[in-house]
Symmetry: C2
């Protein structure tokens, strides 16, 4: 089936102080509206202090549901782009303009990355960003010095599109050891992030005449959009208490899944579902795209090994330093079936997207020296403590709220009473607490069946954590 929203475009010329043209595209109207408003603020078309139309009237102008606009306003308030005061309505925040606070202007990535970075909200519990204050600067510099001293001259030239051989060699060893990945340096391609890798893969799938890709019921719309932009149709797999129904895979040419730690629900795909996926891929001659975004962080038992180990010729493994170290490095990696490695390198090479050689060489040194393992271990302890504090606080102050997906990763899912999700997110937004509801991660093809929050506990700094936790408990029903 095709995505009914894929080509939907809602446009309206609404008078907001100046004449402002808003055009909404893509599968998610709310996200589209938020992007359009952020862009209008960032470019100054919406001046600080400008009063926005009421959600009712803008919804009418755009011909969308009022809640779509109300939700977008609430999120943008939480992100600090807008302010809302009883009586004075919703206005463009004074501090939202990039000239005023350049370091905070990140609208596009904000809309695309795994999480929207805080935007002046008092507290941010969005999932997907690690504790940035913990980046091991000193250790990294030491590794950079060793790497730069040892690098051959050609390290500074136009490199192998697959990335530096030093890093691919070290990763092949690390991934085998830490994630059970069957890897060979020749089959690894370094990319600038999971999204970059997925774009390359989508290009290759289309070139191979693949038309349909299965995705999970809950995930990130930016990933679905990348597949759609490449001309691939996405179909959402059904979900049950065991997790994604990989046994329901059919005529698709590939499936994108998060087996070690479903994003955002947090479960691990059970062994029989893993086997079902691999059997299907062999039977159908299809590919499994395994997004192993935070596989290193599992608390209550050994990390769940990568699915890729089951059949390296049928699984494309995606790993990243964005959660284990920092997204600022823009370093991720793909481990590819032998038949695909060349095609992906071709797709990457001609458009010249190699990541910086120095960071690649430094990461190679950082991993081979053992600093990476030490860092992951200490972060695991830190995140686990956060997780325990979250669970304890909820048990004490909101015992009726069920928490799930806590065995791994940097976020948890809080079940909410039916029909309360939107109001909780909005109430939090008014109080400067940035929360994301489950609904924002629901595939547009999938029925809404539950209310909940996806709470990222990795993001706040240590000093802000207690306050964020308290603010969370206060807004829970």
């Amino acid at each position: 089936m095709t995505d009914p929203w894929a080509n939907a475009a809602v446009a309206a010329r609404v008078t907001v102080g100046a004449d402002l043209h808003l055009e909404l595209r893509g599968p998610r109207l709310r996200a589209g509206l938020m992007d359009a408003l952020r862009e209008a603020v960032r470019t100054g078309r919406l001046a600080p202090g400008t009063r926005l139309p009421s959600s009712r009237s803008l919804a009418a102008d755009l011909g969308v549901a009022r809640n779509t606009v109300a939700d977008a306003y609430a999120e943008l308030v939480a992100e600090g782009w807008l302010t809302a005061r009883q009586g004075s309505g919703t206005r463009v925040a004074r501090r939202a303009a990039p000239r005023a606070r350049p370091r905070q202007a990140a609208p596009a990535v904000a809309a695309s990355a795994r999480v929207r970075p805080r935007r002046g909200a008092l507290h941010n519990l969005h999932p997907g960003v690690p504790d940035l204050g913990s980046f091991p600067r000193g250790e990294w510099l030491k590794a950079a010095r060793r790497a730069l001293t040892a690098a051959p001259h050609d390290a500074f030239g136009y490199g192998d599109p697959r990335g530096r051989i030093e890093l691919r060699t070290v990763l092949a060893d690390y991934l085998a050891r830490a994630r059970g990945v069957h890897a060979h340096p020749d089959r690894i391609v370094i990319c600038s992030g999971f999204v970059h890798g997925l774009m390359l893969m989508a290009k290759v799938l289309r070139a191979r005449r693949v038309r349909d890709v299965a995705v999970e019921s809950y995930g990130l719309d930016v990933h679905w959009n990348i597949l759609a932009d490449a001309g691939l149709r996405t179909t959402a797999l059904p979900l049950d208490e065991q997790g994604t129904r990989t046994d329901a895979l059919g005529a698709q040419g590939a499936v994108l899944i998060t087996p070690a730690h479903q994003f955002p629900l947090g479960g691990a795909l059970p062994p029989e579902r893993r086997a079902a996926a691999v059997d299907w891929a062999r039977r159908a001659g299809a590919l499994i795209l395994e997004d192993d975004y935070d596989g290193e962080f599992r608390y209550d038992r050994q990390p769940v090994g990568a699915l890729q180990g089951l059949d390296p010729e049928r699984v494309v493994y995606f790993g990243t330093a964005s959660k284990s170290l920092t997204p600022g490095l823009r370093l991720a990696w793909m481990v590819l079936p032998e038949a695909l490695a060349g095609e992906v390198a071709e797709a990457k090479g001609p458009v010249d997207w190699a990541s910086g050689a120095l960071d690649q060489l430094t990461l190679a040194e950082f991993v081979s020296s053992g600093a990476y393992d030490r860092h992951v271990r200490s972060m695991r302890l830190r995140y686990r403590r956060r997780r325990d504090q979250l669970v304890a606080a909820l048990a004490e102050r909101a015992p009726h709220i069920e928490v799930s997906g806590i065995a791994a990763g940097l976020h948890a899912v809080l079940e909410l009473p039916p029909g309360t999700e939107r109001s909780v997110v909005q109430a939090a937004a008014w109080q400067g607490l940035a929360l994301q509801g489950l609904d924002g991660f629901r595939n547009p093809h999938v029925q809404r069946t539950r209310d909940g929050l996806v709470v990222g506990y990795g993001t706040p700094t240590d000093s802000a954590w207690a306050g964020a936790l308290d603010a969370l408990c206060r807004v829970l029903p």
Copy 2:
């Protein structure tokens, strides 16, 4: 007009030991054949030692001119992928496979970057790569330490798609000072190289309903292909002794030019031609895409200022660290008209291509500390010496060869007697000297009118330079 080659695809199944399927795409058959052969060698489909069919029989199989195949073979011999011995024909080189020499396997970028890096050729005089041995490792590390110590936590997060504000701020100042660019940090977008920036721009141009983009008679096919891939038609502007005929601009929506130092011919666009371009852009509401790839390196007078200064609202300025520092950094920058900055950031952001934050912060520190200026000055002296040695050697040993394009940059153009270019390039290849003829840079729409060589004198290390120069003089007619 449309590119007659744009959709041309020649395919053949030729038996080369194993059954090898070659498919040629894109505007340049020879480049396509070379890519296909490199890929076949890299992936092992063509094993080391395999004897290739004669250029005559492969040309017949592919239905292309025999010279197309002969040239491709010669280039690949020069690049070290193939070997050619009188009697034993052309074979896959023993050392070409990545497993054997992983650091040398860069086929895809090789085909796309400004130059194909050496591939085991004894000497490489291809244009476009700076002296990699001169990268200032110590100074860079000092800058990295200062930058990393001073960086705020959020430097490690998902950043502004435009790039780090610290770097954009420093570049705005540097570009105004060194290149006469009218720049504001909000209008600068950091990208991973010129090609990345051009891809973003092509996307934005298409979104703005632009259909035709004018290019120069000589340039790089990878750039023309990027425009074509984005759905833009390219038309080549005529050329005369003054340079590119910008007065011939017509219905196109944009023009891609290298005003400070035409690539590869080497001339500077005269003032009246610059004015003609700007007048046209204003009249037609069109854009000028200014590729200022090596603007810092001018020897006989002050650098020619950027065209962008004439009309910042009509010119998109592209600069890069690939020539001034090293391509390994993957750092370049665009300075955009105010109306475009937001659109380009949107085009870049959602696909998450930010360059690494640490390299951006380090470059900002490197520039603001004056280290960048010092490095450019010392490299300018070094390249100028090379240029002088080249001119002197030719004057002595090949006085009949005219040299042009020597006032700036890292390469010169040597005029050859009509009809001799191909044989000179091939003769050089047999002797392990990698040379590129003018014809490889000719736009497919343009008649071949001259024979010549584009000699890059920046690439060889100091120790290899004398030998390369001697080898060059020996192959000249």
